[in-house]
């Protein structure tokens, strides 16, 4: 009882320190937990410098325990705690642990109640994303917020969409194989930028990205989605033959890209997986090209076998061709 009283007071004090900063500073760039276990000074664990917020790690235990218990209390008799308290508690909880879905949902309620504006909440999401980039809850919340925004304010402008796309890229950069970020990007494109121009632009962006992140298959997965989308967009807008022709040229370019990348990078499975995708797409347009493709792949494989490059991966590729396309390279 003795210490828990002091714990509570300490937690409340830290909350107050945080509140002062959040009230004053609208443009927080970053938040993180600073590893300070050894306390020597009687100084607030809240560090604020140059729009960046830090929290010394020794205080997390007290702050989180307090907030979590208070938060659960507010959940059990919801109406008795005001929005300000819920906002503050969930904000702190999410800063420390962004996986807490209940807290996210509580914040959704606050947005519905118009206590929080959608714009502020988007900024808050972005702040959290900089700390934990691979976090599904955060992306889901963001998606929900944007849907809310569209419902009330209509379709977002290109500027906004570009911001969202840039944000995904940043998240993907910060955490490799960030499938959630790419899924979110896919959602944005599918919902708000579903046109040929945007998709071709995405192809360029994604090319730059995969060239730099060669082993990140999430990025390739997204690229494959874009390629397929472009194919179906061609079909929607053009005559069938013309559409296939355009789509094929895209795929052939893609194959060239893969070959270039394979020459530079050794032993990258993602490239081989992508190759399989391109081959199967090419076949899906025009089955009659089977022979031609087979020859080309055979040349490729023989060449790589001769120089003894990517041995294991080449063997896998052969097996895959055998099993799914019935191609034999004996």
């Amino acid at each position: 009882m003795d210490t828990s009283d002091e714990d509570t007071s300490l937690a409340k004090r830290i909350l107050r320190d945080l509140r002062i900063i959040f009230d004053r500073e609208t443009n927080l760039l970053e938040f993180d937990i600073v590893p300070v276990e050894d306390k020597t000074l009687n100084k607030s664990p809240v560090i604020f410098e140059d729009h960046r917020l830090g929290l010394e790690s020794w205080s997390i235990k007290y702050l989180y325990t307090y907030c979590y218990h208070e938060f659960l209390k507010t959940r059990s008799h919801r109406a008795r705690s005001d929005s300000a308290t819920i906002n503050e508690l969930t904000r702190t909880l999410l800063l420390i642990n962004p996986e807490l879905k209940t807290a996210w949902n509580c914040r959704k309620q606050l947005v519905i109640d118009k206590y929080l504006t959608i714009q502020d909440e988007l900024t808050f999401c972005q702040l959290l994303m900089r700390r934990r980039s691979k976090n599904m809850e955060n992306f889901t919340h963001r998606q929900w917020l944007i849907q809310m925004m569209v419902k009330t304010q209509g379709h977002p402008d290109t500027n906004f969409i570009n911001n969202e796309l840039e944000l995904c890229l940043e998240a993907a950069r910060r955490y490799q194989s960030n499938y959630y970020a790419w899924t979110y990007r896919r959602w944005v494109v599918q919902t708000y930028a579903y046109n040929l121009n945007a998709c071709l632009h995405e192809m360029a962006t994604s090319k730059a990205w995969i060239e730099r992140h060669i082993s990140d298959y999430s990025g390739f997965g997204y690229r494959q989605y874009i390629i397929v989308t472009i194919g179906s967009l061609y079909l929607d807008t053009q005559d069938k033959l013309l559409a296939y022709e355009d789509y094929e040229s895209i795929l052939v370019n893609e194959m060239d890209l893969i070959n270039d990348l394979l020459r530079i990078h050794c032993n990258r499975e993602s490239l081989y997986l992508h190759r399989r995708f391109v081959v199967s797409q090419l076949l899906s347009i025009d089955g009659s090209k089977d022979k031609e493709l087979y020859d080309r792949e055979k040349d490729f494989i023989i060449q790589y076998l001769q120089i003894g490059r990517d041995k294991l991966l080449i063997e896998r590729l052969i097996r895959w061709y055998q099993r799914f396309l019935n191609w034999n390279f004996t």
Binding site: D2, T3, D5, E6, D7, S9, L10, R13, K39, T40, L41, N42, K43, S44, P45, W58, S59, K61, Y62, A79, R80
Partner: protein, 430 residues
């Protein structure tokens, strides 16, 4: 078994045992001791109990704060019908859904209401106060804090219809202007407590009139009424000699003249809260401490000009000081704390001391404070010269003390505190 016999009617007899043994009057008497929840449960037992439990005489004091989300207009109307003239105290604090029409019915039915708490009933408007003024002349205490729609018209009506009003809380009613306060002053001469936090339009004139008409004022809270200047406080001090509690926090225009006036006239003052009145200096507190010997509670947060001398005066003049806040008083040093801890109040009375953000305080202050036997709580946030060792030393003297600092509170149990030397077992045997 026994319970069954008492409550269930036996064979063909109509009445349960408890009803045959206890007269209606006795049951009623028993019910009068029950709280609202128990009464409602009793009302579900049988028809006769329903009548008795819901009898108005059991419902003299009703507090619905715990049910605030469920309470809507019709509930209040039903209660008022049920209780009628019996109801003397009603608290609808936080019952946001209550509306004017419900309270109109209430006022018509419950004429004898004395204590009414409507805090945070946000939809109430002036028409509620008009009904109260018309029907409830016995009202002595009214809380309409945070009823944001309330304007001067309410206060005007209350001044006309409720002359016995002793306690009025209009905190956060930001629409109230000096005119409303003057109406109250003229109509309610018995006023003892006036609480008007953040009624920022209130000015000197209004408070002066209040002071002149209501000499019995004991409690005044003008927190964040930022137009207030010395003039208002001087007139309060001159007219209301029984003043016990005064809160002037965030009234940033006040100067030492206020403290001097309070010191000269209000000798019974117990609590003074003057956080962020940053013009106050040592001289003001010297004057205050000369006469206000009963001061128990002092909040001097962010009185940035005061120095150790102020603490010396206060520790000489106020032997009953229990709680003292010196947060953000940045000029206070160890010397001031030494004065405080060597004074009469320190050993036996001082319970709580706030020293957060006093950057000059060091561990030697804590050593001085070890003499304060009754100290239960000390706040030391952001005093960066304070060390963990200093706190440990203090705790070894005062094991029950709660220390609030930015150190993780994992101090070892006070029984084996540092400072006492420890011997190994073999030595202690020798």
């Amino acid at each position: 078994m026994v319970m069954t016999k008492i409550f269930r009617s036996n064979n063909n007899e109509d009445e349960a045992l408890i009803n045959r043994k206890l007269h209606k009057e006795l049951l009623l008497r028993i019910f009068s001791y029950l709280d609202v929840i128990s009464l409602c449960r009793c009302a579900q037992v049988s028809k006769s109990w329903n009548v008795l439990a819901l009898d108005g005489s059991n419902w003299q004091k009703v507090d619905l704060f715990n049910f605030q989300t469920d309470i809507e207009g019709p509930v209040v109307e039903n209660i008022s019908l049920r209780c009628g003239g019996f109801l003397k105290e009603l608290s609808l604090r936080g019952c946001k859904a209550v509306t004017d029409s419900a309270l109109r019915t209430f006022a018509q039915n419950c004429n004898n209401i004395e204590d009414l708490n409507l805090n945070d009933c946000k939809y109430l408007t002036d028409s509620t106060c008009a009904s109260l003024s018309k029907h409830c002349s016995k009202l002595t205490s009214l809380n309409i804090g945070s009823c944001i729609e309330i304007t001067d018209r309410s206060l005007e009506a209350l001044g006309e219809g409720c002359p016995h009003l002793e306690k009025l809380d209009i905190s956060y009613c930001e629409k109230v202007t000096p005119f409303g306060v003057v109406c109250i002053a003229q109509g309610c001469p018995k006023l003892r407590a006036f609480i008007a936090i953040l009624c920022y339009k209130i000015n000197d004139e209004a408070i002066s009139r209040l002071a002149k008409h209501c000499p019995n004022l004991e409690v005044v809270n003008l927190k964040a009424c930022c137009l207030i200047t010395d003039e208002a406080i001087i007139s309060l001090a001159e007219n209301c000699h029984n003043m016990k509690y005064i809160c002037l926090s965030n009234c940033t225009h006040l100067t030492d003249n206020s403290l001097v006036a309070l010191g000269q006239r209000c000798h019974k003052l117990r609590t003074l809260e003057v956080a962020r009145c940053s013009h106050f200096t040592d001289a003001g507190y010297q004057a205050l401490a000369r006469n206000c010997r009963y001061l128990e509670n002092l909040d001097l947060e962010e009185n940035t000009l005061i120095t150790d001398n102020a603490l010396a005066y206060l520790s000489m003049g106020c032997p009953k000081l229990q709680k003292l806040s010196l947060s953000h008083c940045e000029l206070i040093t160890d010397d001031g704390i030494r004065h405080l801890s060597s004074s009469a109040c320190a050993c036996d009375v001082l319970v709580s001391l706030d020293l957060d953000n006093c950057p000059l305080i060091t561990d030697s202050s804590l050593d001085h404070l070890a003499a304060c036997n009754k100290l239960q709580r000390i706040e030391l946030y952001d005093c960066q010269l304070i060390t963990r060792a200093g706190i440990r030393r203090l705790k070894s003297h005062l094991p029950d003390l709660k220390v609030h600092a930015y150190f993780a509170p994992t101090t070892p149990p006070p029984s084996q505190g540092v400072g006492r030397q420890r011997y190994c077992r073999c030595c202690s045997i020798v």
